[in-house]
């Protein structure tokens, strides 16, 4: 039973990371209807930035803050410089642009920082502070994720900028007619998504270690989580992320072993989707003839 509880808690910690990344995906999906396949590599690149800063002697939280800010601007610039140009292109063209970004980020990171695996520090103490079932880092990850979620919620609910972004996501034409600079709102969305991804990357790196391919599996879980929750629902993304995290851990520990757990988790998710094709919290399709 203890081992089981431990699996559940560490699943929740992983799930919190999937939820954060899934939230980043949902943000971009809501305003552009694209799934950003490069979100994971962007997060990975951000984590390397943090690693470089910490290595250069910066205190952890200073590096953390600087990385979040830098990632925000990287996301913003990528949207303004590249993604904007394919705004009206067919879905698959955009998918290929995201794949291109993915391989470029991956390759450039490997080139700058080499492909050798690096240890990334955790800001949380080694000894477990919250009982025997959960390590301090895992508890910290959950705490940071909750902080991020609450901040985002407050931002979108109660600030004029948050309202403008929600309006743009829902109806860009009407937003322009209200004088909102929708182009900047989209770029801002990318910036915030990249910042969230950076936090997820820095939280997961102490667990999986730092290497250029560290986010590929995590991105897949995040996509699965976002889709399972209903790709346009932020709440769904969070619940989907936590579900996938726990599901993955329990499957890996008790049912199929670590080799096949990715496959099995995906099959389960697809099974869910076949019976609930718009996800658990997604709006059902309304098709006009």
């Amino acid at each position: 039973m203890e081992a089981f509880l431990h699996q559940v808690f560490s699943g929740l910690a992983n799930g919190a990371i999937y939820a954060s990344l899934a939230l980043a995906l949902v943000m971009i999906y809501q305003s552009t209807h694209h799934i950003n396949f490069a979100q994971g590599e962007l997060a990975m690149f951000s984590t390397y930035l943090a690693w470089a800063m910490i290595n250069a002697g910066l205190p952890y939280w200073a590096a953390f803050g600087l990385t979040v800010v830098a990632s925000f601007f990287i996301g913003l610039i990528i949207e303004r410089a590249i993604v904007r140009r394919v705004a009206d292109a067919p879905v698959l063209t955009v998918v290929v642009v995201f794949i291109a970004l993915l391989v470029i980020l991956n390759s450039v990171t490997g080139w700058i920082f080499t492909y050798t695996i690096k240890v990334f520090p955790s800001p949380f103490p080694e000894e477990p502070l919250f009982g025997p079932y959960i390590s301090s880092h895992e508890a910290g990850v959950v705490g940071v994720s909750i902080f991020v979620l609450v901040t985002l919620f407050l931002f979108f609910r109660f600030t004029p900028l948050g309202l403008a972004m929600r309006a743009t996501a829902e109806n860009a034409v009407s937003s322009r007619l209200a004088g909102i600079r929708t182009g900047w709102m989209l770029a801002l969305g990318w910036g915030i998504a990249a910042a969230i991804g950076a936090i997820a990357g820095m939280m997961v790196a102490p667990i999986v270690y730092l290497d250029p391919n560290m986010m590929s599996g995590i991105l897949l879980y995040a996509i699965a989580a976002a889709l399972m929750g209903g790709i346009d629902s932020p709440l769904g993304a969070v619940i989907g992320g936590l579900t996938v995290g726990v599901l993955e851990n329990i499957m890996g520990a008790y049912v199929v072993g670590t080799e096949l757990k990715l496959t099995v988790a995906l099959v389960v998710i697809i099974g869910v989707l076949i019976f609930k094709p718009t996800g658990l919290f997604g709006r059902s399709f309304v098709t006009r003839v």
Partner: protein, 333 residues
């Protein structure tokens, strides 16, 4: 919907390309022949994927899985039962057709990104399934299977590479001819109608479910035939040759070549065969970054794929020449 009608210029162009393709193995080094052989293999796979994704609008990020099944069917048949290589190709096609058809049934319930995820899961799990212990007796596990290169038949005085190339070319031509007939006929029109207006298609009496699953099956058949040929050409199959990246590469191939275009798959096949090599030569340190930049450049310069670019160029050239002709005529009169 360019590329599906016949006219004399087009016929001449196709004939020229075929003649050129036949001549290739007799003028190039055997390594280049191997590379172009792979181009043909990829072209067959991309043709199948383009039917599904380009013409029918069902996104597949997992076609590498059907490619892998085709390759393993060929390898296991040859390695275990000594089946002649040319028999394995249709068998692989049929088995993949069934696999694709079966996968197409649950896929009916999924749309857009959801289908992309489901197919991607298929692509990701394929190497893991191929490594699975219970299948090791046939698949050879992580080690994979080595197969022998076939000799040229009928006492033809050409090398193995040249023969394999010609063998692949013949099959490719047949597959292209079949695809062209399928796509310009009733089923092809139904496929496009379902992509553009699924509800209107249903109202017109098209059996949407049947056409979609059938398309999935045919598309997988093409991937399977390509996989079998690929295995014979490379003489080796192993789980790590069929990672998820293969599926993504195929998708890149049809987008760069041109969605819903038959000629586009040839450009796409050339791209996925040669551009990684070129990228590697440009930068040994970060070849994938160069590859990514190539992708961006192609997307920005030819948003409708290379086929669309060529079509636009062709249109400009021909209207230019007719204008000149007209100008000449008016001067005469």
């Amino acid at each position: 919907m360019g590329g599906l009608y016949v006219n004399r210029t087009r016929l001449i162009l196709v004939a020229l390309v075929v003649v050129l393709a036949c001549a290739l193995p007799f003028v190039l080094s055997s390594y280049r022949v191997f590379q172009f052989n792979m181009v043909l293999v990829y072209a067959i796979v991309l043709l199948g994927l383009n039917m599904l994704t380009g013409f029918n609008g069902q996104i597949s990020l997992g076609h590498g899985a059907f490619y892998a099944i085709g390759a393993y069917v060929a390898a296991v048949l040859m390695d275990h039962w000594g089946v002649p290589y040319w028999v394995t190709v249709p068998v692989a096609g049929v088995i993949c057709f069934i696999a694709g058809f079966l996968f197409g049934l649950p896929a009916l319930r999924l749309h857009g990104h959801y289908l992309a995820l489901a197919t991607f899961a298929l692509g990701i799990s394929m190497p893991q399934i191929l490594k699975y212990k219970g299948l090791e007796e046939w698949t050879g596990g992580v080690q994979g299977i080595v197969i022998l290169k076939p000799e040229a038949p009928f006492g033809l005085n050409i090398s193995q590479d040249q023969w394999l190339y010609l063998f692949t070319l013949i099959i490719a031509l047949v597959m292209f001819w079949l695809a062209w007939n399928l796509l310009r006929g009733r089923i092809g029109r139904a496929m496009v109608a379902i992509r553009d207006h699924p509800i209107a298609a249903e109202a017109m009496g098209i059996d949407v479910a049947a056409v979609k699953t059938l398309t999935f099956g045919v598309s997988a058949l093409y991937a399977g035939v390509g996989g079998a040929l690929g295995a014979i050409v490379v003489q080796f199959v192993a789980p790590d040759s069929f990672v998820a990246l293969v599926s993504i590469t195929f998708l890149i191939g049809i987008v760069i070549g041109g969605l819903a275009s038959i000629s586009g798959v040839i450009y796409g096949a050339l791209f996925i065969q040669f551009v990684p090599n070129i990228a590697d030569e440009i930068s040994k340190a970060a070849p994938w970054a160069v590859y990514g930049l190539f992708l961006l450049a192609f997307i920005f310069l030819a948003p409708a794929g290379i086929a669309g670019f060529v079509r636009a160029l062709w249109a400009r050239l021909t209207t230019g020449s007719t204008r000149k002709k007209r100008a000449a005529q008016t001067q005469e009169t």
